[in-house]
Amino acid sequence: METEFTEAYQRTSAEGRETECEKVANILDLVIDGEASTDEQHFFNSHIEECVSCFESHQKQKLLKSIISGHLKRVIVPDRLATSIKARIQETV
């Protein structure tokens, strides 16, 4: 029956054969955001030492994050906002 085949097939394609690079891709954001566990971080570090393409995607992802935090301008808060908040609070209570 097809079920046996499908099951076996799914096992190898979905979980069985995750390459190191795929694992790295899966935890890339965690690493960038400082959310990786110690084990994940170790695995990641040792992999990118020898894998150029993962090293490069790490560089790119880091760059993206630093562009956001470094170049995105913060809008300036209107001068009167704090005062009008306090005034409205006093009116409503």
Binding site: I68, S69, L72, K73, R74, I89
Partner: protein
């Protein structure tokens, strides 16, 4: 779920604590409101409403806990409610339903950036800033939100999950997709400026 912390504060105590603990968050909160609404008046209203609610529910706020995350959460909820009212959309548009949706057509009428640009550093910096802002603004609001919370405001995944009322796994996948969309937009821009990948 925070319980009311027993004793009621006097009005003076409440006002003093409110000012000391919540008002310092005004700048990031306004910035978040602006990035959500993309309109200064709406951002103003949203922030005022957020602080009014925060004041009303201040007894439920536990001193010393994360005031910034608490306010961001209130603002995000107000935004969703306001947005719903204004746009008269079906009562609840679940964020996850629109996650795959991503419109590349309505971006600020292409060709806005001249290809011959003065390359002195300041103007390049400005240009990058503007381009990052417009790339970000062109993302769907739920993608925009996670990027701002994570990369600009530095919230942890756990805090983001609380602010947005979604599981951490969803935070992760949403952030991942948001970054991919943003990367695509910025790569298009880099190419138009003569940089190749």
């Amino acid at each position: 779920m925070s319980e009311q912390t027993g004793k009621q504060l006097s009005k003076e105590e409440k006002d003093a604590r409110f000012e000391a603990e919540l008002l310092p968050v005004l700048a990031p909160l306004y910035n978040f409101a602006y990035r959500l609404t993309l309109d200064e008046d709406d951002a103003n209203d949203l922030v005022q409403e957020t602080y009014l609610k925060a004041y009303r529910f201040f007894d439920y706020f536990e001193q010393g806990t994360n005031a910034k995350a608490w306010l961001f959460r209130i603002l995000k909820n107000s935004f969703i409610n306001e947005f719903r009212k204004k746009s008269k959309q079906p009562a609840k548009v679940d964020y996850s339903e629109v996650e795959g949706y991503y419109n590349t057509d309505d971006v600020e009428g292409e060709g806005g950036v001249a290809t011959t640009t003065d390359m002195r550093t300041e103007s390049v910096q400005d240009l990058i800033g503007d381009e990052v802002a417009s790339a970000l603004n062109a993302l769907p609001v739920d993608f925009r939100t996670v990027i701002i919370l994570c990369d600009l405001e530095g919230f942890t995944y756990e805090e983001m999950a609380k602010i947005l009322d979604i599981p951490i796994g969803t935070v992760r996948s949403r952030l991942h997709r948001a970054r991919n969309s943003l990367k695509e937009k910025l790569e298009e821009y880099a190419k138009s400026m003569g940089y190749n990948s």
